[in-house]
Amino acid sequence: MATSTYNGKTFTFKHGVHPEEFKDLSSHCAIQRMPFVEEYILPLGQHIGAPSTPLVTKGQKVARGQKIASPAGFVSVALHAPVDGEVSGIGLFANPSGQMVPGIKIRTDPYSTQKMAAVPVDLESLDNKGFINAVQEAGIVGLGGAAFPSHVKLAIPEDKKCDYIMLNGCECEPFLTADHRVMVEHPEEIIDGILILNKFIKARKAFIGIEVNKPDAIAALQKLAATSRFPVEVIQLAVKYPQGAEKMMITAILGKEVPHGKLPLDLGVLVANVGTVKAIADYFRLGQPLIERIVTVTGTAVKNPANILVPLGTPMKDVIAWSGGVTGDAARILLGGPMMGAVQKTLDTPVVKGTSGILILGNDLVKDITEYNCIRCGRCVEACPLYLNPSMMGLLAKKGRWEEMLDYHVLDCFECASCSYVCPSGIPLVQSFRVAKGILREKAAKEKTAGQS
């Protein structure tokens, strides 16, 4: 490959924070496959968009990899059974959002094996539309955490052109090492996934952005990229939070900002998580739909931190128990990382497509925060990667002046929590922005329906 301007340099964006990493707990642990448990709970709405429509009935036998729910609309994906077994119930189950949502419960057949009656998809026979349809039918969503259906991203409108495929291997959240292990152990699949994507997208180049705290991942991918048929470049990114946010990575690599209200595609960029690309490769090479994912079980209160290949729908308690359980001082459970992860109140919640980690924090890291008045120190302003003014928005939120927060672009906030992290007064900034965004979205929806009638 020709020498490039990116060689050997480290890139990043402005602002951001440096939380302690805690990655050493699990970054050296090879991915282990988890055995089947007795029951699996598969919520129908594991992705952003319309919940899938169930195709099975209670008592029906299902096979591993069998489609059990079909997409309801374009922004929706299919759902597959992770094990051989019997549908033991369709009803409301706990899910990571805390709400009871419709889902399918499967009782595992004790003789269920890893075997799957799957056939690789013939890439040559597919056209663009067929490819997008196949990705949707494979149930593939963004595995970085947001669980946005991948085929929606891949369906590039006629008037737009994708120049760069950008793979996100930053994993900037402290503690999490799932993507790290994927890059170290499955670099071939990732490169393969790029080639599959590019067959239909026809980009000019692919970038893989990796934070420099994963030298083994960088080395593994660089080695393969050097011999790749398609120009793939591994970019070293500085260790900073939120480097793995889509917009921050684009700024770091291309030096361009995604404008307000625009998508990365408007800059000719398609961003995908490394795990997602591996899932796409798995589907087209082996015919395996998205039925399992790699989950980091870690935290200061976990006995044996590990990276585990978990069938989707495994209850959290079983994953934790299999990893070795928790120590006595477990104080808080999160799905995802400590910055953006969702706190959990029950261990019955299953691992879903967006679960990148199960994090159990001990008393050493969980503190009660006392809130003081804003001292106008401006640390949140310096931390905000989007150059918003969290201090001002926090003051407005406290007064319930939600509408005025729109002028400060609260809807652009992607809740990275850097502002709350640095605030010396312990003000719940990002928390109040989440509330504000909810209220403003509700209002907009209400006005929309009022306008229609």
Binding site: P96, S97, G98, M100, P428, Q431, S432, R434
Partner: protein, 296 residues
């Protein structure tokens, strides 16, 4: 010297006169007639600007009453005498509107519905708690009990009781909709006071599952459906739903066999009032069964 003083004075006086004439001409030219009764009616209104009448503000309501003949009784804040005064002034007949109050569709306070976690999110509001896994209660439909509604209520009609549930004082409630809008769990509904039969639960879980999360949850057991007049109560998604179009047929006997107490017959105007002694249910007593088991 004198000229120096007088000339500016004269100019100022002249300018004043000129602008005065322009203003008075403009006043005559652009005068908009406004019904003087609007001002009087506005004076008679409570100036709460609560919006319960469906019109933004008391002035706008006064305009509607005078110009568009809106019923002054739509103002739920005014006393009956106040409405009568407006009606008498305008020489119209004010029809009485039935009093509407806010009702909470949850009875699971801290003593009935247990918490799975403790919320320490910094924002001690229901809204703040609701964005963190839907709140710390095991029941994901239930009242979070941090009193956003009591805060939002302009008329101080809501107070939190010992069970961390909001109690609406029907006498003070003007049905302004503020609590309905602020509740992140959508637990408030506005209801005419004549609707006495009420299902104080929104949990959609099946029987035992619902009861495991809250001791006063509706389990969807259908006993109330059987005991009420046909069609008054139905079960939709494991939850008893009352058809208020048949409200006249509703009676307190429907709630007698409710195993959890999710369905109530409001004795007074307020919810969560201490239960008063209710008469024994009507119906045929099966003598053959001892210990007085009653059947409809």
């Amino acid at each position: 010297m004198e000229g120096e003083l007088l000339i500016p004075l004269a100019i100022l006086a002249g300018l004043g006169l000129l602008f005065g004439i322009i203003l008075s001409l403009a006043y005559k030219q652009f005068k908009v007639y406004e019904d003087p009764r609007i001002n009087v009616v506005e004076e008679l209104l409570p100036s709460a600007n609560c919006g319960a009448c469906g019109v933004p503000g008391c002035r706008a309501f006064a305009e509607k009453v005078v110009i568009e003949n809106m019923n002054p009784a739509k103002c739920t804040v005014s006393s009956e005498e106040g409405i009568d005064k407006i009606a008498a002034y305008l020489g119209i007949e004010a029809s009485r509107e039935e009093k509407v109050v806010a009702r909470l569709l949850c009875a699971g306070g801290i003593n009935e519905a247990h918490n799975l976690a403790s919320y320490k999110g910094g924002m001690s509001t229901c809204r703040g708690e609701a964005v963190v896994v839907g709140g710390s209660k095991d029941c994901s439909w239930g009242c979070l009990g941090l009193g956003d509604c009591a805060q939002a209520c302009t008329f101080e009609a809501i107070h939190m009781n010992n069970d961390a549930l909001p109690v609406v004082d029907a006498a003070k409630c003007t049905a302004c909709n503020d609590c309905v809008e602020v509740c992140p769990k959508d637990l408030f509904v506005l209801m005419p006071v004549s609707r006495k039969l009420l299902v104080q639960c929104r949990s959609l879980l099946e029987g035992d599952l619902a009861e495991a999360k809250c001791s006063v949850a509706c389990t969807g057991c259908s006993r109330c459906v059987a005991d009420a007049a046909p069609g008054v109560i139905g079960i939709v998604d494991n939850l008893a739903v009352i058809n208020y179009e048949l409200n006249d047929l509703a009676n307190p006997y429907a709630i007698k066999r409710c195993p959890t107490g999710a369905i109530v017959w409001l004795a007074g105007d307020n919810q969560f009032a201490p239960a008063e002694k209710t008469p024994l249910p009507l119906g045929r007593v099966e003598e053959s069964l001892d210990k007085g088991v009653y059947y409809q």
